[in-house]
Amino acid sequence: MEAEAAKFIGAGIATIGMVGSALAVGNIFGQFLAGALRNPAAAASQVGNLFVGAALAEALGILAFVLGILIWLG
């Protein structure tokens, strides 16, 4: 059972990687908001870039999550 326990612990540790992606996505949206309040006229044209950036940052968190699931069930 020790190996089993280690597996769960490992899965939990793997998902800590999502913290970075959470910080990144929060940072992206926060910076966007700060910029948008400063220059609201230019904000609408940058929404596409916003989501692409958020998606790129999020992908790495998702990677950690998938790894966690794989360790848990694999």
């Binding site: 596409g48 989501f51 999020e58 999550f65 998938v66």
Partner: protein, 263 residues
């Protein structure tokens, strides 16, 4: 029932299981019309029905459904033209097809018990398809100049091989991240939904035993609130991931379509 992973199980529909064959290279292949195929077919039919209804009696002053169809159309059209530029119209059908299929599969997953886009096989197909198209267009349009994509002329000469190598690997990783992003979002969202829904059921079971178990009631209510909030979030994610997939497909296409004369 309480297994949050069980929803991803692929099961052949009754009467449509054709057994397994072993092919060279690919390995064992289970030939069957499964629930995944059913979900894909439903999404496919719904997309066609939606487009047919919204465009069949297209008028200058749009009706409600036509307005919805045109909103989707206009969104992807703007996307393609603003990212790829003048050539955007040529690649619009591909991006639009991609977007509509992914969006409809994501949305269907919110109503059915099975989500096609939570299957890595499906998202990997989308990712590899996009990647293959990018490579084919790149080579067809630029010939060997396609490899200029990995030769960053803006970097110092000494660093170029290193940067180029990094560029090359990140290019190879594109289908992987494309597939994993969609897959992971759908997987994570639906697992979380199922886990919280499972909490409600098991906590209500505890509460029904009475006594101290009644303390489980507020927690069950909390779980219910969480399920509702997550459902709303999942609808947003369903749309957002389809949109992001389309945006990234446009960006990757732009890389090779406008290679060498960045705009």
């Amino acid at each position: 029932m309480a297994d949050p992973i069980h929803q991803f199980q692929i099961t052949p529909l009754p009467g449509l299981d054709f057994g397994e064959v072993t092919l060279p290279v690919i390995g064992t292949v289970h030939l069957a019309f499964t629930n995944s195929h059913l979900a894909m077919t439903l999404a496919f039919v719904l997309v066609i029905a939606f487009l047919q209804v919204s465009t069949s009696r297209a008028q200058v002053v749009p009706g409600r459904l036509q307005a919805a169809g045109e909103t989707m159309f206009g969104m992807i059209d703007n996307l393609a033209q603003s990212i790829i530029g003048h050539d955007g119209r040529k690649y619009f059908p591909f991006v639009f097809t991609l977007f509509m299929l992914v969006l409809m599969m994501n949305l269907l997953g919110m109503f059915l018990t099975f989500t096609a886009t939570s299957q890595l096989a499906v998202t990997a197909t989308f990712g590899v398809l996009t990647f293959a198209l990018v490579v084919i267009i790149g080579i067809a349009k630029n010939g060997l100049g396609f490899f200029g994509l990995f030769w960053p002329t803006s970097a110092p000469l000494l660093l170029r091989p290193v940067v180029g190598l990094i560029e090359f690997f990140s290019f190879l990783l594109r289908p992987v991240t494309l597939a994993l992003r969609l897959f992971g979002n759908m997987l994570g969202g639906h697992v979380a939904l199922k886990i919280f829904a499972g909490f409600i059921v098991s906590l209500m079971g505890v509460a029904l035993a009475g006594g101290v178990g009644l303390f489980a009631l507020p927690v069950a209510a909390l779980s219910l609130g969480m399920v509702i909030a997550l459902t709303a979030l999942e609808f947003l994610v369903a749309f957002l991931q389809a949109f992001v997939f389309a945006v990234l497909a446009c960006i990757y296409l732009n890389d090779v379509v406008n290679l060498g004369h960045g705009h």
